[in-house]
Symmetry: C2
Subunit: 419 residues, 2 copies
Amino acid sequence: MTGAMDAVILSIGDELLLGQVVNTNAGAIARRLSGAGVDIREVLTVGDDRAEILRGLEEACALAGFVVVTGGLGPTHDDVTKNALSEFFALPLVADPRLRERIAALLASRNLAWGPNAEEQAMIPSGAAILPNRYGTAPGIVIEKAGTTVVALPGVPYEMEQILTDSVVPIVAERIERNGGKVVLHRTLRTTGISESALSALIGGPESLPPEVKLAFLPSLSGVRLRLDAAGESAKAARMLDTAEGLIRQKAGRYLYATGEVELESVVGDLLVASNLTIACAESCTGGAVARRITSVAGSSRYFLGAVVAYDNRLKESLLSVPASTIAVHGAVSRETALAMASGIRKQSGADVGISTTGIAGPSGGTPDKPVGLVWIGYEDAGGALAVRQTYGEGRYRVVERATFSALELVRRKLLRLV
Amino acid sequence: MTGAMDAVILSIGDELLLGQVVNTNAGAIARRLSGAGVDIREVLTVGDDRAEILRGLEEACALAGFVVVTGGLGPTHDDVTKNALSEFFALPLVADPRLRERIAALLASRNLAWGPNAEEQAMIPSGAAILPNRYGTAPGIVIEKAGTTVVALPGVPYEMEQILTDSVVPIVAERIERNGGKVVLHRTLRTTGISESALSALIGGPESLPPEVKLAFLPSLSGVRLRLDAAGESAKAARMLDTAEGLIRQKAGRYLYATGEVELESVVGDLLVASNLTIACAESCTGGAVARRITSVAGSSRYFLGAVVAYDNRLKESLLSVPASTIAVHGAVSRETALAMASGIRKQSGADVGISTTGIAGPSGGTPDKPVGLVWIGYEDAGGALAVRQTYGEGRYRVVERATFSALELVRRKLLRLV
């Protein structure tokens, strides 16, 4: 409908249908294809059943010229997807000599014997092309027939992602080029520390952006993401997105911490490296979530020294030198305790920056004075200290996630001198 | 096909199609419906577009007699789903007086004014029933026509879950009863510390279980889940699952830590409460992930005292009293350091159980001797100490998740005297 190349994602697996496994593969494929400018029409999930897969293929091929199928290619699934593809396209399964060799080499390198499973893995629908799998025995396969392209990928996420990057994205780029370069482009601007309605008021209505650009708000626990969409010829669509991004930055730039898939913990890490500063945390209600997020970044050992999770108040005293009188007078959830925790972890660790959290994650522990969802976040560096009070409402997971994000955002703002 | 009531889940949202938001709603609905015995035929995701939603409704209603739709019911989405439902069923939107009152009361309680958005929210397809939303202004709605039931729920997860539990599950139960009680039941047995192939060998082939029960293996970073499926009359299907579970427990019971949606950290928490013991962690490579998982359980403050995340070796010495010579002689990633860390956190915190992790999460930091993925896990209680060596291969996230799980599993086994 946009003139861009369209696609359908077909996911196969009973475990997906039953909600036992989150369909992260569909999301990863959707991000990569839409990132390349493809218009995704639908994501369809069906069970591990030949008739259901055939129905899914029929629907997908009727709807779009490019179909990506995942799941059901491994030996544990009895190759049900490969059989269904063979039947759907009336292409008999044949042994592929080069694939046989590849599988034999992979098995030999792992000291595994060739068996009936390997034999099955070496069969592909006659005439299909192979997309090499560097990490496993099930290759990706491509079938082109009557103007439709079906790409089938294994369901193991890291095998799927490798084939997606190395083989599928280049095929898509070439296909878009051949079709005249029409695309739908998307750009995500990540904000935090501001509500959807306040952000919307700040940016203004649709008339404040180029008419060709569509703006969507995506609120989440970590903040509001703004998605800009533009359809058309590739370079022109990109220019329109640039213009729209520039207009939004002028108005809401201070809340914007990254574009695309970049996480706040990476932004904070880069700022710490650039400033040659180290950090350590003192956590109470977040229970290790701040440290866990900081250390999720590869290379964080350059700036992250460590953390004390002081759930028990005695540990706030013994490991963070929070005076017993501070807790007795002001309570564990207070400005004074948050500041003492930030100061304590800085001294204990020798870090340049100390960050702390203390609050009531719930569901129990709240009082009228200090309800569930109240969190104090403390910060100290060589230049001084501050503490901010936040109220997040109910929901243990929500409170911890939001407090963790607020703590990282406070570090970002201090390092950029925004507060 | 199974004789059970079948259903389709239709998810609406551009952000889902683009992979920007994980479709957790579909998973939650799938788990609740399949938990009630419903046979889910497919999950279909389409964009925020009237024509696409109409297409989705057409497909869903052709496939199953029960359809659950989520997304597009809030004011920010311009009620696109409600308009599409109105058009699809040829039921004009009409203002519902009771719904108007509910919305007015909710807005008043939040000091918000009545406006055009509220006016829109009070409209429903003529003849539709309302499923009350306790947390927001968009209610769930039910339309029954020509043997098909469509339930539309708002996309905000906690609003959706409340309506699902309070209204949709009872409707489904009543419907199944009326249809003669035919169901498809599933039961999940959670194992950890054993590979899929070893578990499969232990349990034996399909002939080792009742022929009516289907067994599926679902490997993940946290362990292998076994799913048992049985179709038929409700009580009979449950008995078949009991028999199958009993047979599996006889052979693989020691690896089984829970059934259903229960997480390992809850199992460990319950064991600690039952034994009246407290715990504390000393983490290096897991960076707070063990503490974060333990504290994700509501009420964990009863047994969790705290943690030290000692990323920097100096903190292993200062906060955990690991002798500098231990690190110098054996290295930070060694049995000796893991044991000293577990012992150190026990002393520092006064906890009954000390658990520790030290390893190389990667991607850098590996050596031929100590490659990326090598992790030592230490344990100490009043009865003694031990450390176990694990190798998880590459992938920072994978290594941290698997080490975290192994640490919790070690505690479980020690508390149950399985090691």
